[in-house]
């Protein structure tokens, strides 16, 4: 009895979390006519490859372009943004200088400002320079992640000993070289966590591309799927494309998440306790 109740709860939760994804997989494997006529939770004729072919061919492969855009927007911004946040957080943790606390507090205040509140003013600023509806109008603002600086400061303080920096100074290594050769290695697990946080934040930021971008070829995949979904009533053939596209868009992320999961656990733990 003592073990049955917990297992039942866990089983029910697993069902709740995984059944929608299972449904999506099954739905994406069906032809349009079978989608409505057959049992939703089990396969009919397995037409996933046909659907994929149709998805990738639709309007000169615009979907693949969206996937590529998403990889560049999110992967690129998260990678570069993590390095910048790490450098800044590291300096705030390891060096003493005037105005350090002031800078840190301003950045910390930035954590509380919701990213969506910035989307509209960013649009207005970019339109002053006639730079809306460009790659950079989404990419550049996505580089900034104040929470990453906060985490980097905590991790750098905890994982990079002062003695090590002094020793490498005595060896004649410059501060910048020390950071890239020694300190960043010590901070590496933390950096992966910051990267993942940043990645998800950019990946989920929907308002910024929605406001900034008008041209379809610049869309990230989320905005692309959203636009298709709003057209389903006029163009019913888009429905299968939306479902197949939704499946394709989450597969790489699910795999990446599962592979990197230990970093989530370790990093989040030390971040939350402080």
């Amino acid at each position: 009895m003592k073990r049955v109740t917990p297992m039942v709860v866990m089983g029910a939760a697993t069902f709740y979390f995984l059944i929608p994804i299972w449904w999506l997989f099954v739905a994406a494997s069906k032809s349009r006519s079978e989608f409505t006529g057959t049992t939703p939770l089990w396969f009919a004729d397995f037409a996933l490859t046909d659907n994929l072919g149709e998805l990738f061919a639709y309007r000169d492969g615009v979907f693949l372009r969206w996937m590529l855009n998403s990889v560049v927007y999110t992967g690129g911004a998260a990678l570069l943004g993590t390095i910048l946040a790490a450098m800044c957080g590291y300096a705030l943790a390891k060096y003493r200088f005037r105005g350090r606390e002031a800078i840190f507090n301003v950045i910390l205040g930035g954590v509380l400002v919701p990213a969506t509140a910035l989307a509209l003013p960013l649009f207005l600023i970019f339109s002053r320079f006639e730079a809306t509806n460009t790659f950079w109008s989404v990419f550049l603002p996505s580089l900034v992640n104040p929470f990453g600086v906060y985490l980097a400061r905590i991790y750098a303080g905890a994982s990079v000993p002062d003695e090590l920096l002094e020793a490498s100074r005595l060896d004649g290594s410059g501060e910048i070289r020390t950071f890239f050769t020694i300190s960043s290695r010590l901070m590496f697990p933390a950096l992966v966590t910051i990267f993942l946080f940043h990645f998800v934040a950019v990946w989920n930021n929907f308002l910024l591309p929605l406001i900034m971008l008008g041209e379809e070829r610049l869309f990230p995949v989320t905005l692309g799927l959203y636009t298709w979904n709003t057209q389903v009533n006029q163009l019913p053939e888009l429905r299968m494309l939306v479902l197949t596209g939704a499946l394709v868009s989450i597969v790489p992320l699910v795999i990446a998440f599962l592979l990197l999961q230990r970093f989530w656990r370790n990093g989040l733990g030390s971040g939350a306790i402080k």
């Binding site: 939760a13 060096y95 969506t116 509140a117 509209l120 900034v144 910048i176 989920n204 939350a272």
Partner: protein, 287 residues
């Protein structure tokens, strides 16, 4: 440690510049924009931007639908955040209790929805809710989950589905960080699993719960992708259903000055609420 100036600039300047350009500048610019208004001479005269003082804010505070939408997301938050975090805490405690086999599998299974972006999750659940397509037609055939009464809670379910696993992982990580010696005394006293969880584990992971609550509050007030997507599934979701939808639809009229004022009020409300929550919980902890 003291640092050579050059190195310091090298470390801080790149982030500092971007932060200034894409965080501080937009905030200041939004505040400035919100203080202006457009004036026309005659109906078809050229539009001129003139300083309007707090006119836009008067309009914000007189805007019924906007405050309704604030009330809506607050109601959403008051129900959804505790349900989501309660579920996350329960699952984390069960994972940590030693009563469950296959911990690794469950941890992964619960975390998978977090990889699904809000827009895609909303599209998926939109299909699952619709009476003709849903696999759960026993439910959707009898209850209209997309009706005006229920659509808010249908969206709450989407948000819960995405974020429970993530919050569970935060809480679970801090449970793992509790040193085993802490449990010794409880074991000697013969405290059971439930009593240990209640009296020892929950108080010790309180900082993690506070952190997840603040993030959830921020997230709730920003609700956008889910209602925006649900507008295609349900006519009950209006263009001012949540504060951020109001910002978006006001800026597409376009009335940028009013939209900027909405943005400023919303950002302030979010900051205040998370800050107040932090203060209240800290005071509770001092006792």
């Amino acid at each position: 440690m003291r640092a050579p100036k050059k190195a310091l600039l090298f470390f801080i300047l790149p982030f500092g510049l971007l932060f200034t350009a894409f965080y501080l500048a937009p905030i200041l610019y939004a505040i400035k924009q919100s203080l202006y208004r457009v004036e026309r001479t005659g109906t078809f005269g050229p539009a001129v931007e003139v300083f309007g003082g707090l006119t836009q804010y008067q309009r914000v505070f007189a805007d019924g639908p906007f405050w309704e939408s604030i009330g809506r997301v607050l109601l959403f938050g008051v129900v959804q955040v505790p349900v989501m975090l309660g579920l996350a805490l329960l699952l984390a405690l069960l994972l940590d209790s030693g009563l469950v086999k296959g911990r690794r599998f469950f941890r992964l299974a619960f975390f998978v929805p977090y990889a699904v972006p809000g827009v895609v999750a909303a599209i998926m659940w939109g299909f699952l809710y619709s009476p003709s397509l849903s696999p759960f037609d026993a439910v959707t055939g009898n209850v209209d989950l997309l009706s005006a009464d229920l659509v808010l809670w249908s969206m709450a379910n989407v948000v819960t589905w995405v974020y429970v696993g993530y919050n569970m992982l935060i809480i679970y990580s801090s449970l793992l960080a509790i040193p085993q010696e802490v449990y010794e005394a409880a074991r000697i006293d013969g405290a059971g699993a439930i009593r240990t969880a209640w009296a020892i584990k929950i108080p010790l992971v309180m900082p993690a719960i506070v952190l997840t609550t603040v993030f959830s509050i921020i997230g709730t007030l920003q609700l956008l992708a889910e209602p925006q997507v649900f507008r295609t599934f349900s006519s009950a979701v209006s263009s001012t259903y949540t504060p951020n939808l109001t910002v978006y639809s006001t800026s597409s009229i376009p009335n940028f000055h009013l939209a900027a004022a909405f943005s400023v009020v919303l950002a302030l409300a979010t900051c205040l609420l998370s800050f107040a929550f932090l203060k209240v919980t800290q005071r509770g902890g001092d006792k």
